[in-house]
Amino acid sequence: MAEFMSLSAAVEQHLRDGQSVAMEGFTHLIPYAAGHEVIRQGKRELTIIRMTPDILYDQLIGMGLVRKMVFSWGGNPGVGSLHRMRDAVENGFPQRLDLEEHSHAAMANAYEAGAANLPFAVFRGYKGVDLPKVNPNIRSVTCPYTGEVLATVPAIRPDVAIIHALRADRQGNVLLEGIVGVQKEAVLAARSSIVTVEEIVDDFGPRSANAVILPRWTIGAIVHVPGGAYPSYAHGYYKRANAFYIGWDAIARERETFAAWMKANVLEASADSFAGLAFGAGQSA
């Protein structure tokens, strides 16, 4: 049942060292503020799960919080590599990073199966490619009607899901809109969840009868963090800081510039100060 609390309390109470955590967001609504709090609290030995790990996961990896990553595409979209991820995979710095790699189709199906409380998902994929040779979790079942062999993937059931949403009402129901990605599935698949929101409203008011809403009884903690998706975006609140994404390439390329940036902007900063950049266009990175 959704409980309103501070960001630090939410991360303290819901995420423990060694757990698996999915901080989802498909370009839109990436939970940067919550992820930065995880870094400030210095959680260790995490398994991080995400279809499209981007800068936030680069930061978690570069700060040495991560033992394993489950993913399907790891890059800085439209810009290039995640240098901290590459440093971990190619050089074991700051520590070895285990990868469990899937395709997007597999990950999307695996979240869906998790939300549906199934142990695995079936899909038509991985035809003629090499990933099944290096990922033993890619298996198959035979259709009991047609004999067709289809690919399978284990359901994703994270210990904790962390997402950023547009609005919560005072009862703790949460509304998403726009590019909704796999966030609803991630929350429903997880054992507990933290949701940061742009705004808390008395009531959602007039809306589509089919609005994407997570009822309060599906959520662990709700935290009010305006700007909590910055430098990603929150539809109707602020735009994606594309310049930040472009600028990140130079920051993350070297270990020293990365460490300095993290110290100044995350470790020694408050959640509000970084998130606040969402509303002061252009002065970031």
């Binding site: 839109h28 399907s72 189709a105 035809k127 003629g128 490619v129 990605g181």
Partner: protein, 254 residues
């Protein structure tokens, strides 16, 4: 008007797009080519980005696959699981686009690793949607600038399947989709040889020689019996493309 290699690559790709196509669009050159087609000869083309946006009509090109612009201009936006289940796997997409770090002569692509998978020399981003785009779309266009480290005789890793080991490979896996029907580069156009499914050159861009093509390709390039000459970009194509890119650059600097 003069033009860059990237410009002619994008423009050539756009010319092959039909107003009836339902395209699964990737970021970068595919996105530019699709929107150029939409703004010129294929106004009815349906563009789908894997972030869930169906029938989107962006005014500027997205930097990422899930920019707000895509959602604002879409017919509707679905969840990512639905996108991969009902729309891609559902067989609704007539045309998919792929690019990659490395390609072989059958249009197989590598975007996963250079070197050994467990101890890679270069860790690339990974497959993302590519493995199932390659198998589920009616046909696939690949857009890549040529260079000999990218156009390889043998790939270290197959991320997405083109024509596999050649003619019949796709059918043997039960695939009824066409796979790569065009490889559009900055120097020329490749299409699969009907006999072997090897990608062979069917048209050469203005000012490009066969020697220049071979110099940028790690496999021995073969040519169709009749090799065409790519018509140069028209002033209108270049103007629309540059206008789109200028709007995009301005928007992304924000």
């Amino acid at each position: 008007m003069s033009y860059s290699p990237t410009e002619i690559m994008t423009i050539v790709a756009s010319r092959f797009l039909r107003t009836s196509d339902i395209c699964f669009v990737g970021i970068g050159a595919p996105s530019a080519a699709c929107n150029l087609a939409r703004l010129t000869h294929a106004p009815g083309i349906t563009l789908i980005y894997e972030s869930g946006t169906l029938g989107t009509r962006p005014d500027v090109l997205p930097l990422s696959i899930g920019d707000g612009e895509l959602c604002d201009t879409a017919l509707t936006t679905v969840s990512v699981p639905e996108m991969f289940r009902y729309w891609l796997q559902g067989g609704r997409i007539t045309l998919g686009f792929l690019g990659g770090a490395q390609i072989d002569c059958f249009g197989n692509l590598n975007t996963t690793v250079v070197g050994d998978y467990a101890n890679p020399k270069v860790r690339l981003p990974g497959g993302g949607g590519a493995p199932e785009i390659a198998s589920s779309c009616g046909e696939v266009f690949i857009i890549m600038a040529m260079n000999p480290r990218a156009f390889m005789a043998k790939l270290p890793f197959i991320t997405s399947m083109g024509h596999g080991a050649g003619k019949g490979s796709r059918e043997a896996l039960g695939l009824s989709t066409k796979g790569p029907t065009r490889l559009i580069t900055d120097l020329c156009l490749f299409e699969p040889d009907p006999e072997t499914s090897e990608l062979i050159v069917t048209a050469i861009h203005p000012g490009v020689t066969r020697e220049m093509i071979q110099a940028q390709c790690g496999w021995p390039v073969h040519y169709a019996a009749q090799v065409g000459l790519t018509p140069a970009p028209t002033d209108n194509e270049l103007a629309v493309l540059r206008d789109l890119q200028a709007r995009t650059k301005q928007a992304h600097a924000a």
